[in-house]
Assembly symmetry: C2
Homo-oligomer: 552 residues x 2
């Protein structure tokens, strides 16, 4: 057995079943070792940003770590942005990065680079395997690290000779260490703070998609506190049947209003809220200076235990239908296309339990009110703010949940960052429907420029915001990647196209001048790869989401 | 004046005239400052890898530093791979990376990341400006650093508040320090080594495209040494009129043969040759163990002075037509498409002084013999081995040289990494003709797998090498970006399309099953932006290349 074989056996023995890959020469022996193991599902992405984003989306929907295969330093650089987003989502990702054979590193080969430096700039855990015999043990530790603290970025660097030299066997990852918990005294103090009228409990992590959300609602109902969540989170439940949780806004001014006057703000699974950027004349944080901040439980700590401990202090009120979003499907809107109507149309047409990957950027705020009225669904958001997250995350979510519809809300500026993911959707026959909001530019920058206090926009600035002259033709771009697409002219067209996309097999479509396009991945067929990942772990509350609301 | 304005004034006063950009919110004040300065040409790329690759290509053709505008940590990550290629090309690039306002960095904003860590992993020089008042001085030092040692990667990180707070004025970059020179004793020893029969002088850098190549040829002719160059270089002159210089090969086996038996190998402007990768059973370096290695002048040292000093030791022989590649235009090939015929067809049809950006990867070796017979042209190669270099470099080369034709030889796997650059070609009306060799996969990986000693390829590996199911439709991809394209069925079709592309205004085209496609950028028109960069510096030997061969 060589090091590469010991690596693959270790990953499989440790429960890693999916590998998103864009390998190069330094990873060839690893690729060869995968050949003997069809139970590992290997998915090719045509750019490393697609690899890392897919692993992020896969973790968000399964709480299972996927492996990535990345080429040495610059290949990891290409994956960097979506690893940043994954890190902010607290997703567990295991990166396998090749490097030159260790004895080759003293020469100036073209691809020699600072593998360790670029890896450490975004990873929680990084190691270079010292020999083929160490690969199995290192890989097992890497899997454990990726699962620790609610999910981490772990990067294992394998010099090429550690792959082809002799190894003795595989290893198995130890269970992730028990996460840290707050003290009973801290819980008691937080409970006391929550009893003050107008107090807020802010939650994140599994509390936003699992039954922990029910628990959080019961305990805040018992003490009368408000229950809130940040704006950008790895995943949350929305629509009919979802537990009511107030969502923070994007703009710091709105968040200042939302948090004004609260006597205390207790954080469980989240850090102190901060503005997306600093703006001249505005504070960095939206919490009221008079609010007492209680940092009870960080995201990497034991959120489930902490909420249970809080409930033991505060009691649990019985939930009633009022604690859940009630079914309120909008009627199908007609006439010219608007973003608000698109939200309503999607809500009117989508089935239960869709996964919505939201990279609509400025469009998202306009479509959200409509979507909120639709059937219950999960939403994945751009946690790290680095655009190019949407299409790759949708790949990962669709691989994780082959029985659920995945809908991507995508901006045209952000979609261009990682459009290669469309090809992977087509190749893997993933059931992904993409709606591209084509406002022909970086609308967010137009708005941020004004927020920064710059109101006069001249030619040089204008040309940095507009994606025009030429306009991007998303129908052609999608077809070039093997995905059919359609342009939408009015809401009747959108409704017909989206309804068709929701039925199997569906079409692919888009709008013309009306800032909206819609693309649909190739329909799923009977062709499934051996070793295809199941929807989600049998015992996981993850994939079906918090649907407890249907029968409180 | 705020810090952003002082930055722009400093860049302009220091001779920086072109800025490739993909800005985000943290760079908004910089973008605003650019509005007042139309003499700075700002070029938007839809992905940061396009930004850094364009700055690289611009430097290769002008020896002038362009600025990049990159968004904080993950945005820089997207630029990383082409900065790696630029670093290996010894290109000077000045990165301006925004960051959060310094007082905002203590909070967990989504985009907060390790800006310094990711920058340092690829930059020679990195600094975070401490205040608005320091921005001008820091920027001047950054420009100087980017121009030092024959070209470096310099990254200046500007916290957002340093852009909007008050500054006092601009600064001007000091001239780059005089590069290091070898001692006279070292020159004498190298000269002695070169006098041994069969000795080799290996050169790189400006010696491959400027009149220094003539000098190198004269002095090696005087002492009877062989004159050679590495395979991957930032730029070299090829075709009729070029000084004859033996080119190293890609494969280590071929290079072992090329260097076998040489008594000495003198390096001037280059490091010891090394294999692209290490391979089991093969050495890391191709030089003969009995060859005396003389590391006379590193790439970052004074190559011009060193060659002159060598010539003073060895004398200079008069050059004759035999020292130059003689005109030998191939006839137009007919019949089915082959890569060799494509090389001949391009050579038959291209005008003088084309810039060829070569990212044909496995195709390049097949087209090179034909191209070698064409008129004199410059070639830019993938110095760092990180794919996705071709289309962005072509953008930079075309901006640098608006009066020259730029032809990109592109693989389909590598082209997909940074295909967004097609849009910038269309928007800036750059005269770029792209030939895509569509072999529907990573052919290089198929070959490297065998070179690694792995000959059995199973399903998991096969699916990592093939870009099929679906096939990419490059005509659609190009049109989606606003670039017309054509599919080529046979050589008659290629000839017609390429001839049309070489004439103004040209078409865009490509092949079907015959592993070849050709795309042409929008034709240049009278629309030119104010402050458009000149072709190249008046006094620079750069842009016209080493055409001294015409009249030796």
């Amino acid at each position: 057995m060589n090091g590469a074989e010991s690596l693959v056996q270790t990953l499989l023995a440790s429960g890693v079943r999916v590998c998103f890959a864009n390998p190069g020469t330094s990873e060839m022996h690893f690729v060869a070792a995968l050949d003997g193991h069809p139970e590992m599902r290997c998915i090719l992405c045509l750019f490393e940003g697609g690899v890392s984003g897919a692993a992020d989306g896969y973790y968000r929907m399964t709480e299972e770590v996927a492996a990535t295969i990345l080429h040495l330093a610059p290949g990891f650089g290409n994956a960097f942005a979506n690893l940043h987003n994954a890190r902010k989502a607290q997703s567990g990702v295991l990166n396998i990065m090749g490097d030159h054979a260790d004895y080759h590193l003293r020469f100036e080969a073209p691809l020699k680079g600072d593998t360790l430096g670029v890896a450490q700039a975004v990873s929680h855990w990084t190691r270079i395997s010292a020999s083929a015999g160490k690969v199995a043990g290192d890989a097992a530790e890497a899997v454990q690290a990726a699962r620790a603290k609610g999910g981490q970025i772990a990067t294992l660097i394998l010099p090429a000779n550690t792959a082809w030299e002799k190894a003795s066997g595989h290893a198995v990852a130890a269970p992730a260490p028990v996460p840290q918990r707050p003290s009973q005294a801290e819980v008691a103090a937080a409970a006391k703070a929550l009893r003050q009228p107008g107090a807020i409990l802010m939650i994140d992590g599994p509390a936003l998609w699992s039954d922990l959300g029910l628990l959080a609602r019961r305990l805040t109902k018992a003490c009368g506190a408000r229950l809130m969540q940040p704006y950008f989170v790895s995943r949350f439940r929305r629509g009919a049947g979802a537990v009511k949780i107030e969502r923070m806004a994007y703009r710091i001014e709105d968040n200042l209003r939302l948090l004004a006057g609260a006597p205390s703000l207790v954080l469980c699974g989240t850090a102190r809220p901060a503005g997306f950027f600093a703006y001249p004349g505005l504070p960095s944080t939206p919490d009221d200076p008079d609010t007492r901040l209680v940092e009870l439980c960080a995201r990497e700590m034991d959120i489930a235990w902490t909420l249970q401990a809080l409930a033991e202090e505060l009691g649990e009120a019985k939930l009633t239908p009022d604690d859940f979003v009630q079914p309120d499907r909008p009627a199908l809107p007609e006439g010219p296309v608007t973003m608000a109507k698109v939200g309503e149309a999607i809500a009117a047409l989508m089935p239960e339990d869709v996964v919505i990957v939201d990279e609509g950027i400025t469009a998202s705020a306009h479509v959200a009110p409509g979507l909120q009225r639709g059937p219950g669904h999960d939403v994945l958001t751009i946690t790290g703010g680095s655009i190019g997250f949407g299409l790759p995350n949708a790949v990962g979510a669709a691989v994780a949940c082959p029985n659920r519809k995945v809908v991507v809300l995508e901006g045209d500026g952000s979609g261009m960052y990682t459009l290669q993911s469309l090809w992977t959707m087509a190749r893997e026959r993933l059931d992904v429907t993409t709606v591209v909001f084509a406002n022909r530019g970086y609308q967010i920058l137009r708005e941020e420029m004004a927020a920064m206090g710059v109101n006069a926009v001249g030619r040089n600035a204008q040309r940095m915001f507009d994606v025009e002259g030429p306009s991007l033709d998303w129908v052609a771009l999608a077809r070039g990647h093997g995905v059919e697409a359609r342009r939408i002219a009015d809401m009747a067209g959108f409704n017909a196209a989206f309804a068709e996309a929701m039925a199997q097999p569906g079409p692919r479509l888009e709008t013309g001048r009306q800032v909206l396009r819609l693309i649909r991945g190739a329909p799923p067929t009977a062709i499934r790869q051996p070793g295809s990942a199941p929807c989600c772990r049998a015992a996981s509350p993850g994939c079906r989401g918090n649907s407890g609301g249907a029968s409180p």
